[in-house]
Amino acid sequence: MRRLRGILVRVASQLRGHRANDDFDAELESHIAMHTDDGMRTGLSLEEARRQALVRLGGADQTRQAWRERRGLPWIESPLRDLHYGVRTLRKHPGITAIAMLSIGLGIGANATIFSIVSRFVLRPAPVGSPSTLMSLRVRHEGSPCCDEFSLPLYTDFHEEAKSFSDVAAYFEVVPASISGSGEPERVWGQAVTPNFFSVLQLPMILGRGFVSGEENQPVILLGARLWQRRFHADPAIIGKTILLSGRTFTVVGIVPPGFHSVDQLLNGEFWVPLGNAAQLVPGLGNQTSREFTWLAVAARLKPDVTPEQASMEIQTLGKRLALAYPKAYKESSFVLEQAGTLPQGIKSQVLIFLTVLLVVVLLVLAIAGANVANLLFAQAATRQREMAVRLALGATRVRLCRQMLVESVLLGLGGGVLGTVLSLWATRSLSAFHLPIPVPVDLSVAVDGRVLLYAFVLSVFSGLLLGLPPAWAASRHTLVNAIKGEDALARPGRRRLTLRNFLTISQVAMTLVLLCPTLLFLRSLQGAARISIGFRPERLLTLSVDPRLHGYTAERTVQFLEELRSRAAVLPGVVSVDCTDYAPLSLGHRAESFHVNGAVETGNQEPIADLYMVTPSYFETMGIPLIAGLRFGEETATGPRIAVVNQAFAERLFHGQNPVGQQVIGAGVTYQIVGVSGNVRSRTLGEDIRPVLYRSLRQSVGGDPSLFGYTLLVHTAAESNAISEGVNRQVHALDPSIAIFNEETMEEHVRSAYFLPRLAATLFGVFGGIGLVLATIGLYGVMSYAVSRRTREIGIRMAVGAEPGMVERLVLHQGMVLTLIAIALGWPVAWMLAKLAASFLYGVQAHDALTFAAVPIFLAVIAFFACWVPARRAAMVDPVQALRAE
């Protein structure tokens, strides 16, 4: 305790400053005076008495020093002094400091940006209470990709029988609804949950209460904080009031905290209702008592003393028991237990590879930046050698000098870190603007959070230390006499062939090559993606969606509404044609079904899966998809025999090139008569292999298989499609003012967001590659300029004894280009090997694209040539007389 008090007092006096020193001076003075008095009393002279007093004291200055060290905390004080000195040195060289900080800042900024993606999608725990014990459960069927959701009976089994969990909740992840009230009706997404959902999540409401048991079928609702603010002005009196959701009355019982949108952190849910309401809100949901209908996500809370492994073992046993009881449903199934809120299994590995590649790339950027700064610091260390030598001569230890220089480089690192964090704030904001081309709202926003700040901080300090260490050590080398004489050891040319500076330059150029190869690959991939034939014409097409079903429309009335809307919109000025579909292509996929030819022998082979689209008669003309054979849809009746148009890929897969028109195919128990064949389109994503597609009549399909995502109106216009949007909107509301309009965009905008992946990759690599190139160019230029300025005297002598300017120029160029060629020879194979990792993200270009791997080295060599040529010119213009006189 006493020691602690002592330390606190010392810290305090460290902060207080110099007054106490004066006090001690007075005390010492009085001590010496009293001692002198005593001495004079024994007969000594004043001088002698004072001299003896000082001797016995052991010297006034030494005493003061001892006292001062005791008073404050010397091990804090001297680093503070280093810091002070460091700041002063950095300010003395604003140019070098600015370039160094900018370099590190770009590097740290790139790293912080990518790490904020990692932090958001990989590291961030689910926004629930104790996320580590909240598990999600899924079913894996042998031989098919992971994973399936639960059926309601299966959930009930788990809820009753699984002993590893304190409670198990189930929820239907996407419930569309239209919310009316004041202002335009709005389509929102929510989730239907078992009443124990929020207690399993351990998530208290910010207002009101959560659901309680017994409320399974009650018309009660929890609102997301954002929805509450947006539509109800954050009015606390809303609790207990009723609101209209898709035409039904619900009583608001609570407000969900703003940070929670869904357990998986991707879906953007805005309201929650008890599970019993799902069937009403989602007509055509399916048979809830069936074990075939897998629609529920499951969240389970581990009991306090149960590990995930134990729980996993228990549910496998439970699974075996269920497989015996229901062999049809679970014979080849296993159950997957993972921490809730982590990336979905299906995309996890892809995302992780992508992020790993990005992390490596940004570390390369930082390394290139670091090499730049290290070179700068080296140059600076060389010029400071005399200062160092003088300080060594005055008794500073080598460790002390190193510490001094390290403080400077860490300051540079931290300055760069601050700059980088600011850059990444901006970068994450622009990244958040990317969105997926799907109708379900997904939250992909990234932001700089605490983990990112910590990462940036550690990275800054670490790079500061790493950068400062070699120059610090070198500069404080015992070259005392030489340095004081004015010769400097670091700058002496021609001693060692591979100096550290050359090594840095080589690695920098090599890393740039490794960085530029994927950059060009991804730029070519973006170009390749633009060349992909999507199969339809995106120009002059306006899309907007409505979901009459959410407003209580029956199937017949929905069809009627859409027909009416089509004919009303078709007569608007500037409109060429209007059609309806359930889902625009390139939206990552929607309905798909396996098909076989009616009457064909069962081969036992996997049946081909085709994407299903509902369309209205002139769909193919409106979309610009060619009709290759047969007819389009016409005057079929809703209850008549089902007809379909298939694409060429469908015809090839099922009919092996024979004419399918007139044949029948069966999918999901429905028989379709094929009446026509259309051209191929990219159905789900740009990069996919062409999929079989079956177009069915909207009129015939709404009743039996309604779309979960509403219906999209496609308006083909004569000119730019934006202007017409208001007119169409007015027609919708003229038909029914309560209908919510959503996903309104031009088809070109939609296709642009389908370029999400190639565009994201090309943007990121383009930026990072560009930064790397600029940094490496500056680095090479810096090294060559420095070499020239250091060799001025040598060049002067060479010229004085008859060297031509051209020869001097060639000498410098030669030196720079040798470094560059070594770097290219080292970097090229590495880039070649790494390119394989990028293969799965490329469109229309091979990973080992010949053009890329030929062009990048040449390009880099040309850039390097110019970076060396400028200093070489300067060398050639050295005036020998001036050069020799200057030294």
């Binding site: 007092v9 005390e27 010492l28 001892a66 006292w67």
Partner: protein
């Protein structure tokens, strides 16, 4: 900074505290002279080391200081024990006696043999 100084510092602190206990408030110079006298002039104190020791004791709260005037009417800083200091003197003195007693047992038999 070796072990010697540490031991010395420890004993010096006890000497200072004990002297203050018997003499009452004292200034630095007076304390130094008094310690030398008490030791029968066997200790040649480097007066400069006394002040950091006093500062340490003050920081730890065993003594406090105030300015006053000496018997010869010189301004001087006087140190006196605090309550905690009085407790510490008794405690440290007891510990010291025990230490010396133990050491004495090691040294005395060796002389007998």
């Amino acid at each position: 900074v070796g072990d010697k100084t540490d031991v010395w510092q420890g004993t010096l602190a006890l000497m200072v505290l004990k002297t203050l206990e018997t003499m009452g408030p004292q200034h630095g110079y007076g304390l130094a002279r008094r310690i030398e006298q008490t030791s029968g002039d066997q200790l040649q104190l480097n007066y400069g080391t006394l002040y950091p020791a006093l500062l340490k004791l003050e920081q730890e709260g065993y003594i406090r200081s105030r300015w006053g005037s000496s018997e010869n009417n010189r301004r001087a800083k006087f140190y006196e024990l605090t309550k905690a200091g009085q407790r510490q003197v008794r405690k440290a003195a007891a510990e010291w006696e025990q230490t010396t007693a133990i050491l004495a047992r090691f040294i005395a038999p060796a002389e007998e043999v």
